[in-house]
Chain length 367, copies 4
Amino acid sequence: MASNAFGTIFRITTWGESHGKGIGVVIDGCPAGLALDESMINLELSRRAPAGNNPYTTPRKESDAVNIFSGVFEGKTTGAPISLVIMNKDHDSSKYEPIKNVLRPGHANYTYIEKYGCFDYRGGGRASARETACRVAAGAVAKQLLLHFDIELVAFIESIGSEKIVGCESLLSNFHDLRSARDQSLIFCPVAPDSQKMIQALEHAKADGDSLGGVVAFAANGLPVGLGDPVYEKLEANLAKAMMSLPATKAFSIGAGFSASEMLGSDHNDTFFIEDGLTKLSSNQAGGTLGGISTGEPLFGRVAFKPTSSIQKKQASVNLSGNEQDFKLPVGSRHDPCVAIRAVPVVEAMMALTLADALLMNRCVQL
Amino acid sequence: MASNAFGTIFRITTWGESHGKGIGVVIDGCPAGLALDESMINLELSRRAPAGNNPYTTPRKESDAVNIFSGVFEGKTTGAPISLVIMNKDHDSSKYEPIKNVLRPGHANYTYIEKYGCFDYRGGGRASARETACRVAAGAVAKQLLLHFDIELVAFIESIGSEKIVGCESLLSNFHDLRSARDQSLIFCPVAPDSQKMIQALEHAKADGDSLGGVVAFAANGLPVGLGDPVYEKLEANLAKAMMSLPATKAFSIGAGFSASEMLGSDHNDTFFIEDGLTKLSSNQAGGTLGGISTGEPLFGRVAFKPTSSIQKKQASVNLSGNEQDFKLPVGSRHDPCVAIRAVPVVEAMMALTLADALLMNRCVQL
Amino acid sequence: MASNAFGTIFRITTWGESHGKGIGVVIDGCPAGLALDESMINLELSRRAPAGNNPYTTPRKESDAVNIFSGVFEGKTTGAPISLVIMNKDHDSSKYEPIKNVLRPGHANYTYIEKYGCFDYRGGGRASARETACRVAAGAVAKQLLLHFDIELVAFIESIGSEKIVGCESLLSNFHDLRSARDQSLIFCPVAPDSQKMIQALEHAKADGDSLGGVVAFAANGLPVGLGDPVYEKLEANLAKAMMSLPATKAFSIGAGFSASEMLGSDHNDTFFIEDGLTKLSSNQAGGTLGGISTGEPLFGRVAFKPTSSIQKKQASVNLSGNEQDFKLPVGSRHDPCVAIRAVPVVEAMMALTLADALLMNRCVQL
Amino acid sequence: MASNAFGTIFRITTWGESHGKGIGVVIDGCPAGLALDESMINLELSRRAPAGNNPYTTPRKESDAVNIFSGVFEGKTTGAPISLVIMNKDHDSSKYEPIKNVLRPGHANYTYIEKYGCFDYRGGGRASARETACRVAAGAVAKQLLLHFDIELVAFIESIGSEKIVGCESLLSNFHDLRSARDQSLIFCPVAPDSQKMIQALEHAKADGDSLGGVVAFAANGLPVGLGDPVYEKLEANLAKAMMSLPATKAFSIGAGFSASEMLGSDHNDTFFIEDGLTKLSSNQAGGTLGGISTGEPLFGRVAFKPTSSIQKKQASVNLSGNEQDFKLPVGSRHDPCVAIRAVPVVEAMMALTLADALLMNRCVQL
């Protein structure tokens, strides 16, 4: 099946390898009439690739600039497919030559070779996290659509390794402040003291040639009641698929998540009350949905990322000839010490894509 | 969009309300030549509705029997759609009349009414967990297909409330014993002392008119390398969607799950070695996939269920006229004290459906 | 792939064999709030199976009655899947036993056996035209939806064998009269003298143990401008797929059809003018679309049906053992002398299904 | 819905406007291991845009050259999406300015404006036939896949205006000769005297500032028995959708087509016989399928194209202000006198895409 596409009405298809000519995404199904230009998208892309002097994301400078190749006319979308292309810089792939025949622990080259009979070893090819730049670019368009309906999004680092923000749900009361605080942190963590502790943990892991995992929290505000569909197209089901399609993800939760399994029903149930004539929920254990459909409360969930599998340490492995051979990254290879950091804007993008699709689908359910 | 279907090649569509004439599922895309009869499906259905005297699942007797209406000829599937129908018993829906205009905390009636302008209040209509019987019936067919390829599945209760099996991954070394132990427990928990503690917790909650959440673990053995597709159709992404489409689910994880976010890369990476000439993994932190594609190691993950939202206690709520009104279940209403228990065979079914689809899709990827 | 489904948002899945327990269809994606009951559907079904004494359609009495198993509550659709079931009468399939191992000229048993390794020989199984009763039942629901938007449909016999209505486009000026005239003909031909000639041709073919082909014309009135999508989802493309998915179809056309290929551009182009302040088209060579999108003019097209392949004459063939063996239908077998007649309501149904889907999809294209 | 994509397993998505930066197509689902380079694709593209001195297709020189941006590594496909990009030449769109507010008879600008609230008037934007270059590029990849299975394709002009090859089915006995003869004709007509007559008709229409329609015949050889699926995914249904998604198409037929409606069953049925131990068909009225599934006989059908709607004559029309205003193409505008000619390689491409998808889907139907 076509496995490089996401969404039904607002549907994206991404393409490109990390060390090929370029990468890109086609957005099919974006409504006509949405204001869009390249600067809006580049702004989002720049968040994925922070300043070159940030030691907590890969130091190589990815000054990605997007080209809108189609779908926009006189500053607005036309309803035609929007083709976004990001050309790759010239890469020296020669350093990958010596390790191209060894399985990389925690990486996809083993399964790709078995499935397809080949693997584009230059920088990970299609399995590279570089593909997520296309998600961010498409997500930028989805965000424009959501903004049109006054829906705003945020994602941030909740934990790295064992360092964690306690009670991060309280931050959701003010999205503006939350985003502001987050953007002042080199690692997208909105609570300064926690950010500092996480940075120390990262320094420690880096010094050791090792890596750390982390958790990204995500939230949306301003959703109407009614997004998401019953049974197999529940909003959280599509969000879960969206997030678990990201590289290095190991878990997804909404609302109280795994903690809900330890609660009593009388504690977990959010009760209803009336405020200013409107139906409201007294709490938001559910995380913004009931029966798979948005309640109008803030959407809230988490995604867990494993530690970066590319580490500087030597690891036992085998080669394509079927013999055991240690795997060691080439000298000079650079990798994020924690992939969750750079994933923050990507999680935001996947949330945007999922919600934009749900928003459009919701137009068809009632006479 | 059509929201009552799951899968691409092996695709199911379910229908039916809990208190309507019946429920059913159409399986479209099952290969021809698979041995199938009603008893195979009824066996699975009976696991979802344990003996009537089991106090830990709803006491009402659901002696569901499936009818194969199409798709099987002379004992084998023909490639035509398989229509499975389960007729409903006559229900007395009158007890729901008094509460039909009150929002039920933790339930879907609020969001359905807002989305569709109506709600089938009799027993939950389409939002009822009764829909999952169709998943189990279809899953029984998927399991037959997987068995043909020597793939076997298991799901079991790992925790209820705060009672939990410690180190349940070790149980995966022998699926036969694991299933056996599980089936001796009234609550599908394969470790007898833990099962006993969980039952006590359930008794306590029931006596209090309250409910508990729980976690269901799932695993598959015998998968070939190669199931699942890159990028948006990763095996764990489709499993996550499958599981998060179940009622009452709040979280999904694969392998080490959220714990992976607290580990070092050097601890989390599974390394490769050679055994009997075959490539093997020294551990299975990943839970059976790399890059979204099965590694041949056992697939392993978890699903968290919230506590049953239907409890005997009175809860604050509002009614459809927009006034505050407490919600209280009718006397004599019976509900599972913990929905995770009955979800065990359903989780197994969703795993079967996801894997059957992945297995068929994998036939198209290489010349 | 799942090949028993049609449509994207308004999506149907059909199941059932001609001589199995029953047949049915699940409609997924019908909006909530549509008035619906079984009598509306049965009315359409009765048009497909005209009075038992009609010699021009199969004499066996198909007094089909539909059961709505789900999706309707208090007389209206709820947004849940609508499951329609038609139970089969007991069939004596024994007469098919002697011919079950011989390929039937013009039939699907050859290709089914090659593709699936099996064939349900009893009455054609899944390849039987009986499946089209499900299309008519689902089409009845789609028609209700279209009626809500004041869209009305018609299909009729334009030709049988070499007998043809000349200039049938002129009949489209009054749908009410057209339907009336059609329903007075035993063969759905709205022009009485032509109907009479066609009936004579049918009598002649029947007497000879032979069969005839025919053409069904279809039209819709009241379409808004804008149905259908650019490029691959053009309205006529989806109509063509819909019609060519019917058994025995050999050609599809819209507007002037093949005749357009013989015209000059200056003759074929429909020009625009203003009437009462509205943009109108001076003619309708296009048949109601431009660029794959409805113009607001009547939709108009044709479907060609081959002569019924089941004839009373002996035909050369081969058997499953790989030897030549003549094929002869069992004595007493009864088949329509011209399948196009019974196809009239089915063509109408496929048009309804295609338009209902296009109508819902059109809600998502503009801000 | 996403309307710019075609196919299920072998799935293409096209993008780009005629006068934008470029056009392109992403092929998702092509199996790994297929030899592919740019020259193979450029060869097909050059057939769509014949030598600049061909007076029967638009004289503007479209020296399109494709860039493979992804999906090919070391000369072979990898299973990753194949992104093909064709950059546009700089266009002077200023000549379209004066007519941008007038509806063009036979064109899509009316329906696009109504549907989307906007229209990219520069050269037709997305509605331009330039989009079909992407179909040809993707079709070249599909053809490579089909060639791997020894399936070969051909399409050719059967008629232009009222000039027609009589009995063109006889040409199918030798695909090599047929292609050869076709490629010697400036208008892809394989019978030289007919080609000459058609050219005269074209000259006449051109001199008159008018245009002609035409019919393209298509055929495939070497298909296995079994391609196509029952009911809604019949091979001819998907072919019909493929062809009717092309600009300017008005009709589709398979085998005897509309003529079948005038035949007796005993004349139309193809009978079976044994040759060299294999089951064969004595004739091919059906055009290569039975029950929607390929029989192994040559696939054969036709597509009718309307006359080019862009003509040099003045035509009555209305403008966007709602007033009547004649439409006249700018001086110097150049358009094909008959779009069917340039459509020949496009029809071949759509056939290739449909068959490649059917071929892959057929791998999933039997144990």
